[in-house]
């Protein structure tokens, strides 16, 4: 009997291993083009750097995408939209953040209306450093994300579910100068 249960568990593990293998090899991205990073995406997608050879394809809507690319600084107003988009995506979902603006504010470190640490508001799986990252850097980030998925370390979406209250609290704190009634949603 024990063996039987063991067999069953083996099988389940094999299935989830297969799921990891396929989700690694087909990352569909949604590029939320803010800041300066958007300009680096066309060369990555077209013939010069061709990211489709890794199975990475651009998608039109958040429902269809697996990876959310935040390509630069975020104002408070944009952050609302980013969170809405992130919550519309189907898990497992991942976030890649571009440039120093998303890490520590970058050259907008003392700005009154941009957020400084993206990690506080949505879970980020991979950061790309630089002000502006090169296309090679972006492809490198995708390869890194694939490695993390393979090792089972890209668990940002689970973190978001687990610490939902904490994330919401942070989001509300930065939104609280906006209209009261709207705050309830985000």
């Amino acid at each position: 009997m024990g063996l039987y249960i063991g067999d069953k568990m083996m099988k389940y593990e094999e299935w989830s291993k297969l799921a990891i293998k396929v989700s690694k090899a087909s990352l569909w991205m949604l590029h939320f083009c803010t800041g300066c990073g958007a300009i680096e995406m066309p060369p990555v997608m077209t013939s010069r750097y061709d990211m489709e050879r890794f199975g990475i394809a651009p998608m039109a809507t958040p429902r269809q995408a697996d990876v959310l690319l935040i390509t630069g600084y975020l104002t408070v107003k944009t952050l609302r939209r980013v969170i809405q988009v992130y919550e519309q995506m189907q898990s497992p979902k991942y976030v890649i953040a571009f440039g120093s603006c998303t890490i520590n504010g970058g050259m907008y470190w003392d700005s009154y209306n941009t957020i400084k640490h993206l990690e506080k508001y949505i879970p980020v799986d991979v950061y790309i450093t630089g002000c502006m990252p090169r296309p090679e850097g972006i492809i490198n980030a995708f390869i890194k994300l694939m490695e993390l998925i393979d090792e089972g370390k890209a668990r940002g979406w689970e973190k978001y579910q687990k610490y939902y209250d904490k994330y919401k609290e942070n989001q509300r704190r930065v939104f609280n100068f906006e209209i009261e009634g709207e705050n309830e949603e985000y």
């Binding site: 396929v22 090899a25 013939s47 489709e52 050879r53 199975g55 998608m59 958040p62 269809q64």
Partner: protein, 318 residues
């Protein structure tokens, strides 16, 4: 029919559906590779679409927008599967009846209606625009397609697909409809209609990812999108097979006991060639606007089809 016969038939039908899906996914992957080569890129591996479908089906959360949304998907997939099973593949037709050429036309309209239901249930304005465009596209490409179909029916004096295929396979390649001058015109019109049916550029107006965020599919994610990809794969095989059955003798070149194997391979090669043709057209043209597509089909294609119809009529009367 005895129980054994029914069991064998069900097994065969399932096998056809599975083969159709796999062939469709394989072709879609090869199509992506070819488009990448046209763009001077490396492109994804040819099995990429299998991986994509597997990934979508293994997603952990799947948002539904109510039971109409769920049923609409089933509606589309079952409609296209039924179409596939009614088409002679390599000369073998599993389901058949009198006048199935008309039936197939009706069945081909079911998936579009399924899309309309699903898009309506999702309540997204982009989906609404996409469905409107899809229905207008259907209206435009069906006119030339039906005229060519009528020309074929008049010439072969039948409304059954199996008879059309059988009459074209009497002398092998020489008796294919496309070898006759009037049907060359008709085949051109029908191929353009096929381009619209497959929703490839320049007629990918309903899904247009950059204008209306992929139209009817805008709210589909996870398992729903995976099923839609399966639908697309089957639709690709069914629609190219319909063209092969009508103009290329269904790929039937051999007769005899084991002729089925050869015919099957020829059928596969023919639908592959058709698909490559449509991919190459897609890779070299930008997207039409909806009124341009409508004008293209109703002005030029319909006239070409009508000329072939009149030509055939004169041939038959003589």
């Amino acid at each position: 029919m005895d129980v054994m016969g029914i069991a064998i038939k069900v097994a065969l039908l399932t096998a056809y559906a599975v083969i159709g899906t796999c062939v469709g996914l394989l072709f879609m992957g090869i199509g992506r590779k070819i488009i990448a080569r046209v763009h001077n890129r490396v492109g994804p591996p040819f099995y990429q679409n299998f991986i994509d479908v597997a990934k979508l089906l293994s997603k952990k959360t799947n948002i539904s927008h109510g039971w109409i949304f769920d049923l609409a998907l089933l509606f589309s997939i079952s409609g296209i599967l039924l179409t596939l099973l009614f088409l002679p593949i390599g000369g073998v037709q599993l389901l058949s009846m009198e006048g199935d050429a008309f039936l197939v036309l009706y069945l081909l309209a079911i998936p579009a209606l399924g899309f309309a239901l699903g898009a309506g249930a999702s309540g997204n304005p982009n989906a609404g625009v996409g469905v409107m465009r899809a229905l207008v596209m259907m209206l435009s490409y069906e006119l030339p397609f039906i005229i060519t179909l009528i020309a074929l029916m008049i010439y072969y004096d039948t409304t059954s697909l199996a008879t059309i295929v059988r009459m074209q396979s009497i002398n092998g390649v020489k008796s294919w409809a496309i070898t006759m001058p009037p049907f060359m015109l008709a085949a051109f019109a029908a191929d353009m209609a096929l381009q619209g049916m497959l929703m490839e550029q320049p007629f990918d107006i309903p899904v247009a990812p950059h204008e209306i965020a992929s139209g009817p599919m805008v709210e589909f994610g996870g398992k729903y999108l995976g099923s839609l990809m399966l639908y697309k794969a089957i639709a690709l095989v069914a629609e190219t097979t319909l063209f092969v059955d009508l103009f290329l003798g269904g790929g039937v070149v051999a007769h005899g006991n084991f002729a089925f194997v050869i015919n099957f391979i020829v059928w596969l090669a023919l639908i592959f060639l058709l698909f490559i043709l449509s991919i190459l057209i897609a890779a070299s043209f930008p997207r039409f606007r909806i009124e341009q597509a409508f004008g293209f089909y109703w002005k030029y294609e319909a006239i070409i089809a009508a000329i072939s119809l009149i030509w055939v009529y004169i041939l038959v009367i003589k």
